[in-house]
Symmetry: C2
Subunit: 645 residues, 2 copies
């Protein structure tokens, strides 16, 4: 299972898609400048981050205490990572001087031994590495390393990479099984996948070894985190972590023995991403089979139809199989990004395209829902059913916001969305030898080398309109296209020029071998709208159906359909029509219209409970893509429709 | 509106009911001895309470730190209150020596100035009265006073009452608007209603004045609790209270201005109970109208069909109108007890029986569900829909237990249920001059004085079997019966002997004037089983119906109906049959059987999402009273049935 797949440099990919292109454009035009203001506390009405200020203090250039959450530094690192991808994508040149400058600041904030964390440097130098459960030092380092690798890829400049290596070297010295080393591992995983990236860019084995150590040591006995907690006797940064359990941070048993998605969902996905990487790099079958088991459990038992994961608002975590309530759930934007990262890697190591079905589901629904069309408002939490009045603060619904927010005091999601959009090309394309892999049907262009010559691919996708994907190839020396056939496309056709071909699906791909020259390949996917049901074990969806078209899940919004969406029922055999996308949305994705029935309890008036007297009222419904909801003001929203049986 | 209604001494009431009698019997036979063990940490497998130990330490008779939650003393006080009612009820004589002994211990734990709280006396004498938000000193004092008043009523002994008066005198000195007094009020209300009781038993106006002060001062500006919090800067006892808001403790605006049930539900109910008392005692119309508004909002917007209140597991609080999810809710047993207390008082001050509709709903459903048939297991939280596997710890469902628990570290509910059952007679009967009021149709006997002679009433109720209530009266000098006609009994009849009478309903009562002598009055209430719907605003109950018979809400349990109850649908026009109560239950309440349909998604197999292919399967359903669920092992439970339209 030696991994053959390679990523294509983002410099060689351009996203031109009508839906995604509009968001990707926002990254350079809006999000990066907006987030820069936030990092500098220059945005009115947003919580202060103290982010840049903290680095200045750590560098000894400002006086005062370091403020903000303990992992606030990561906001800057994720911003830098987005900037790097944007530079690679050709739109970020204007940010490069700013990035260089702030990288210098990061360098000045680094201690001579390589240590880099503004909280501990300034506020608690004596507490370094002593609170792995809450301190987030390794998590923060991981985001720094990811940004540094990205910046090196984008610019060829080594200053940031040197900072990262120096820090990673220190971490490799501090942690391990040798004498005088700490046998710890991160409370919040992230460093592991970052170290794999650092290994891949530097070729230095020691980084891979440290990543491997962190995964192998995790959850072994005696349990390091349990001991740490016992010795500390309480919580330093997150007092509400009392009643902490090791499964929360996937440290109850070693990762290789884990069979289910569990605990804090982002931690789990970041850990699994590293596990998949390591399975490939180290050809570790046991690690790979743990990855497969966790993936299977997650996608077949614990995932929303929108690709959301992590049911519990309390502790942002997985709960148990089939526990998928629609209004109270967490489904953090970052967790779905983590799912994308994990799926991408599992596909790379197994060579199976099937993992991209859930990656696509997460991308087109929860991840895209995480940001508004203008690129300046964010969802952290992604319910499938919203009644704005019910999202009351200081209650069990405190986490659910009925409108996207400017920013969050714990702001992992906004920069995470930005870096994902900015690196989207690597979810669309990959390469295996002379084969160019196409995983997503997002209009774009890519150029790469195959058989020693240049191959350029231009994909014109109208997937969400008519299911058609035109792929134009110009290859100097010839190439193959390996195209993923998504599970939702039961009836698909492929044409080489005008001629229909009948390739077999292998590992989720069809392969088109193309000699040198120009070719037009046309894929025709079946994206007719249809109703989907959930497994009977999902109590929350009993008697309900969701409307999907291709990878996109649709929802009803109050703006078209009025209040009390819970009254609405549908008959799945009624015709669903495609209509032009409503004004104010992007991507030109058709709205879907269909007849429905409102079931009312007549005569109850203001009474809370009373006689059951059903009244039916015919209505016409209009659904829009879930990812675009709440772009036209606050209102009710509903994914799962009651079915009139 | 001078309140004419008086409670009848519990000494003169005996409960003989087949349902309630079995629980009341458990109070003396099981619950009081069981809880005594718990107070003394003699019960294996239950969390330690340190309760009696703490009093010993405070009395200087044991060394060591005082342990347990800050309000742990209340466990003993509520136990003593139950003992007092049980003594009054003629079954508690055996506990009296033990109670006298422990009351002496309480006296020894009291400081010379009257201060009485084991936590602050032992652990933090310098912090007395300084943390009203979290410290629960006034709450604890309130439960002590309630117990002392009850013990005095039951035994005529004054030792405990003297302790209570001495403590209340101190509180009256410490708090108020005078010079050198604190202008504070309790973070957790309870003392107010206790002081009214103390005023009523002693006739001393100062206790009423202090109660009035606490209600009037609450929520005024500058806000005492906000100031206290600002000065303290953080939380001492409950670190997870960060993000505390004043509405949580109903202190954002003065109680007299409050129009909705809000904040922590038990606090709200205890406060409202005192407000209703004070409205009557002080003939305060503004206070009364606030009570009425809060009651109306609560019972018509924020109450479950089971009489459960307080939707949010986070902070045990009310949320917003119509937010009544069935699986994640809190609906604390104590909150429904608080509702009973509030409704009882509102009825007393207004003379309106209608308030007892919700009191009865809470009593027959949520409160009774709080305890098992054997009297040794308790529910704190009362959902209307349970899938045991989904009640995962350390998640958003952490508060929901699928089986009753032995005890809780914060154990307000078990002793609260016990004292409510032990004082049940006062929810059944009351007196206004020569009228004996009957509020509940629970078989029992009462004796009281009317027109200077003795009147004895014997009620034989088969309400839950055939809706019949036989009332046998022997009156020396004559009396009236004022009988509540419940809202569920649309068709009712009343007979004097064999003769049907046609009295008018006034304020929810019918009145039967009975001359001296023996009489038999028979009430025939309509308790045919029927389906009830919720207001369309309650999204959680859209398309659903609940089956009720009289005041009892029915539910499906896995033991009779299998798993996946969410598949079950019913047609409300199908016949519902009454069958004998299943084995293992109490009260001889019929089970209800009716045809149903299981709706299955055929062909999904292990897939999480897939094509909608509905398959119907006819099934026969058996429902039992909600209050009796989970007495026959762990399993699924469901109140609201999907309706096949």
């Amino acid at each position: 299972m030696k991994q053959e797949r390679k990523q294509i440099d983002l410099k060689n990919i351009r996203i031109t898609d009508s839906l995604f292109g509009s968001y990707v454009k926002q990254v350079s035009e809006k999000i990066i400048p907006y987030q820069w203001k936030i990092l500098n506390d220059q945005l009115e009405g947003a919580d202060k981050t103290y982010c840049i200020e903290n680095f200045r203090i750590a560098a000894g250039e400002l006086e005062g205490a370091r403020k903000g959450v303990v992992f606030q530094d990561t906001d800057l690192y994720k911003w830098l990572e987005s900037v790097a991808y944007t530079i690679a994508g050709g739109k970020g040149g204007k940010f490069e001087p700013l990035a260089d400058e702030v990288i210098e600041l990061v360098g000045r904030a680094q201690e001579p031994d390589g240590y880099l964390n503004t909280y501990f440097t300034v506020n608690a130098p004596e507490r370094k590495w002593k609170n792995l459960i809450e301190g987030h030092e390794l998590y923060t380092a991981g985001h720094m390393i990811e940004a540094a690798v990205a910046y090196y890829h984008a610019t060829g400049k080594t200053a940031f990479l040197e900072i990262a290596k120096k820090n990673a070297d220190l971490i490799g010295k501090v942690f391990g099984r040798g004498e005088g080393q700490r046998r710890g591992y991160p409370g919040h995983q992230e460093i592991e996948l970052a170290l794999v990236k650092l290994y891949r860019v530097t070729g230095e084995q020691k980084y891979l070894d440290t990543a491997k150590y962190f995964i192998e040591e995790r959850g072994t006995q005696p349990n390091y985190l349990a001991e740490e907690l016992r010795e500390r006797g309480g919580f330093e940064f997150f007092p509400d972590l009392q009643d902490y359990d090791l499964a929360y941070s996937q440290a109850d048993i070693p990762p290789v023995e884990q069979k289910k998605a569990q605990g804090h969902s982002v931690r789990d996905m970041y850990m699994c991403s590293a596990m998949a990487d390591l399975a490939g790099e180290c050809e570790d079958e046991r690690l790979l089979s743990a990855c497969k088991a966790i993936w299977e459990n997650m996608t077949q038992r614990q995932m929303y139809i929108t690709g959301g994961i992590g049911t519990s608002g309390f502790r942002e975590r997985f709960t148990t199989d089939y526990d998928l309530p629609n209004a109270t759930n967490y489904s953090e934007t970052c967790a779905s990004i983590g799912l994308m990262m994990f799926g991408q890697r599992l596909s790379a190591v197994t060579g199976d395209a099937g993992y991209y079905d859930s990656v696509e589901r997460a991308l087109y629904n929860t991840v895209l829902a995480g940001i508004n069309i203008e690129g300046d408002r964010y969802f952290y939490v992604n319910p499938l059913e919203v009644v704005p009045e019910f999202c009351t603060q200081h209650t069990y619904m405190n986490h659910v916001k009925p409108i996207r927010q400017k920013w969050f005091s714990i702001a992992c999601c906004p920069p995470n969305v930005a870096r994902t959009l900015a690196s989207l090309g690597q979810y669309v394309y990959a390469q295996e030898g002379s084969s160019i892999l196409i995983h997503q049907f997002i209009s774009s262009e890519v150029q790469t080398e195959t058989k020693g010559g240049t191959t350029a691919v231009k994909m014109d996708s109208t997937l969400m309109q008519d299911g058609k994907v035109g792929i134009h190839v110009e290859s100097e020396k010839g190439c193959s296209l390996k195209i993923r056939i998504p599970a939702y496309a039961e009836n698909w056709k492929i044409f080489s020029g005008e001629k229909e071909e009948k390739p077999e699906i292998q590992n989720g791909y069809i392969t088109m071998v193309l000699p040198a020259g120009e070719h037009t390949v046309t894929l025709d996917l079946d994206v007719h709208p249809h109703w989907v049901a959930a497994n009977d074990q999902v109590r929350a969806d009993a008697g309900k159906a969701a409307l999907v078209k291709g990878p996109v899940v649709y929802c009803l919004e109050e703006v078209e359909n009025g209040k009390l969406l819970s009254q609405v029922c549908v008959k799945p055999n009624e015709e669903v029509k495609e209509e032009p996308s409503p004004e104010g949305l992007v991507g030109n994705i058709p709205a879907l219209t269909y007849p429905g029935t409102r079931i009312k309890n007549a005569g109850l008036g203001n009474q809370l409970y009373g006689a059951l007297e059903i009244e039916k009222e015919a209505t016409q419904l209009t659904a829009i893509p879930y990812c675009l909801w709440n772009n036209r003001g606050e209102g009710e929203m509903l994914v799962w429709h009651r079915v009139l049986i």
